[in-house]
């Protein structure tokens, strides 16, 4: 191989031009991706973590040769995505969360066989791999089920198998566990990890807006928001940035007009986030040190806010996200979906 990097991007950007439906001359520009610089070595399970609309799918589309960048460049398996898509295509595959690919009238085996043919896999080898992969992901008993009869979770398992079937050098998974129940999501994650352990020269880039997924699964994580990569490191290293700080969760009965901004005005309070919790509210605090806490409690007492529960905890990726973006991931998502 000419390079040890599976994926490399340089100042990568994408602007969408949207035409107004009624008046086609009116155009709007949406910056979906901006100055993205990534270097992903072979063998890595790399995660892109960000809320809806952050630009994750846009990045994946560019890397899978389905969308051209408007600025910068990207190389996949050492080849330029714009000039050499035909060199890239045999080496990659992609699975998206909630996709409805294939044909409902075909069985699981037939659908998977069909997609394997498009990559030139010999039929017998394809069928052998299909059985092996279905067994590993826990779908072997459905091999002859029509895919239209599968539940969401099982269907997504079939899609996941489609991605691995062609043994791609680089696999792109766009929110692979989107909408799956806890068990199915766990199966899928476990499957991805096992595959990478067994094929250490393969690379997986996955996007997610689930913190835990990025944290548990990925070797390295890039946090992306509004088209920009804000940080990129191993989950441990990302969390270590916050280790010098003290993290507290305080459950209170009612805020009584208390705002996060008021608390952030206190010296030593790095970040305060107020969210609704059942029967009251939760205050998540990032403090410069433990010694800042009494001051916060003092403010709560002044406002007659009752503390029900107080915990000190280890930093999570969620905290890292809040620190970088200024709001929790879940909240931003709520705004997005409306």
């Amino acid at each position: 191989m000419s390079t040890d990097l599976a994926i490399e991007t340089h100042n990568l950007g994408r602007v969408y031009t949207v035409r107004n439906r009624r008046e086609r001359r009116i155009r709007k520009e949406i910056v979906a991706l901006q100055d993205v610089n990534l270097q992903i070595p072979r063998g890595e399970l790399f995660g892109l973590l960000g809320p809806n609309g952050a630009g994750k799918t846009t990045l994946i589309k560019i890397l899978t040769t389905l969308l051209s960048p408007t600025t910068g460049w990207a190389r996949v398996a050492g080849y330029d995505v714009v000039r050499e898509p035909h060199k890239i295509r045999p080496r990659i595959n992609m699975v998206s969360g909630g996709e409805a690919s294939g044909y409902g009238l075909l069985t699981v085996r037939e659908n998977l066989w069909m997609f394997a043919q498009f990559y030139g896999l010999p039929s017998r080898e394809a069928n052998r791999r299909i059985e092996e992969l279905l067994r590993r992901i826990g779908l072997a008993d459905r091999i002859h089920t029509k895919s239209s009869d599968l539940s969401t979770g099982l269907r997504q398992k079939m899609n996941i198998v489609r991605g691995f079937l062609t043994d791609p050098e680089i696999l792109f998974l766009d929110e692979p566990t989107l909408g799956l129940d806890v068990n199915a999501a766990r199966d899928v994650r476990q499957f991805i990890r096992e595959w990478l352990d067994a094929h250490p020269d393969r690379t997986v880039l996955l996007t997610t807006h689930y913190m835990v997924e990025a944290d548990e699964l990925c070797d390295r994580v890039a946090i992306i928001s509004q088209g920009r990569v804000l940080a990129c490191d191993s989950p441990e290293a990302l969390k270590r940035r916050l280790q010098r700080e003290a993290l507290f969760d305080i459950d209170i009965t009612a805020p009584n007009g208390l705002t996060a901004a008021a608390l952030e005005a206190l010296p030593g309070v790095r970040k305060a986030v107020l969210t609704d919790a059942d029967g009251g509210a939760r205050l998540s605090l990032v403090l410069a040190a433990d010694s800042v806490l009494p001051g916060v409690i003092g403010v709560l007492t002044e406002r007659a806010v009752q503390v029900r529960h107080l915990t000190k905890r280890e930093p999570t990726l969620e905290d890292v996200f809040v620190e970088l973006v200024g709001r929790p991931l879940a909240e931003e998502e709520g705004q997005d979906e409306q």
Binding site: L66, R89, P90, Y103, M114, F118, P122, R129
Partner: protein, 285 residues
């Protein structure tokens, strides 16, 4: 990372070039052929409705005392209509539906050629429809006692194949157009269906339309194909024929090549637009 983990499978050499092309054609034809098998109720329905339409024309022709050959013309026309409907409704809109289901992005991303995907769709459509067309021909011929007089079987087979090639070439071309134009193309197809029934002479010799209208109708490959097939199928066919069979064969061949070239160019164009604008590959936007 546990380095002892056993690989799931070993890498194998994969087909490329024309072998990948063939594999793709076969794989994409497969769901159409199998899908047909799995929804048998449709076959009955399609055959039954076509026979009804054919019967209507037969009764009218018999009532007005038209030459008996016309009955055979109508039956053959009814059978070939099955292919036309397949091209118009299934083939043309196929890429559009592939886009909606998210398959199109996967097809483009795969190392295969999109032309192979389209050919596979066409081949699958032909095989699936041949069953219906055959049933219509058989049932119609039996009910109305159609007499055939095939003098030159190889020529008949060649014309039939050429007609289908040109017809599905047209379908492959319009598949990209449908995708690019979306809903407008649907309306267009809807509008086109009835006049084309009339113009392409499914149910009567196209010669009756007059020379220039017949020339215009000849852009639809079925028109000339049907005309040539009728000339080869019935004793008096040559008399009722629009142009001599060799001329029609040449025109069909030219149409076929033109449609295939256009289909290929449009596919490339569609892909370039899709990659540039990021619009055509969205599944549910």
């Amino acid at each position: 990372m546990s380095s002892e983990a056993r690989p799931f499978f070993a890498p194998v050499p994969k087909a490329s070039g024309w072998r990948l092309f063939l594999k793709t054609v076969v794989a994409r034809a497969y769901p159409r052929v199998v899908g047909q098998q799995r929804e048998r109720s449709w076959i009955f329905f399609d055959v039954f409705l076509s026979i009804l339409a054919v019967s209507a024309y037969v009764f009218v022709y018999r009532a007005i005392g038209a030459p008996e050959e016309y009955v055979g013309f109508v039956v053959v026309g009814g059978a070939m209509t099955a292919f036309w409907l397949n091209v118009l409704w299934s083939m043309s809109s196929q890429l559009y539906w592939e886009k909606e289901s998210g398959n199109l992005a996967l097809y483009i991303m795969a190392p295969n050629s999109m032309m192979a995907i389209l050919l596979g769709m066409a081949l699958g459509g032909i095989i699936a429809t041949a069953l219906r067309a055959g049933a219509i021909l058989l049932v119609g011929s039996l009910i109305f006692h159609v007499q055939y007089a095939v003098g030159n079987l190889p020529a008949l087979v060649a014309v039939f194949i050429l007609t289908l090639a040109a017809l599905y070439g047209l379908g492959m071309m319009s598949a990209s157009l449908f995708l690019l134009w979306g809903r407008e193309a649907w309306h267009l197809a809807n509008l086109a269906q009835e006049p084309i029934y009339l113009l392409s002479g499914f149910y009567f010799p196209v010669k009756n339309l007059g020379f220039w209208v017949a020339v215009g109708a000849s852009i639809i490959p079925l028109t000339l194909g049907l005309d040539a097939m009728r000339q080869l199928l019935f004793p008096s066919g040559a008399m009722l024929g629009f142009l001599p069979v060799p001329v029609e064969v040449v025109v069909l061949a030219v149409l076929c090549i033109l449609f295939l070239i256009a289909a290929r160019w449009l596919l490339g164009y569609m892909e370039r637009i899709a990659v540039r604008e990021g619009r055509l590959l969205e599944s549910r936007r």
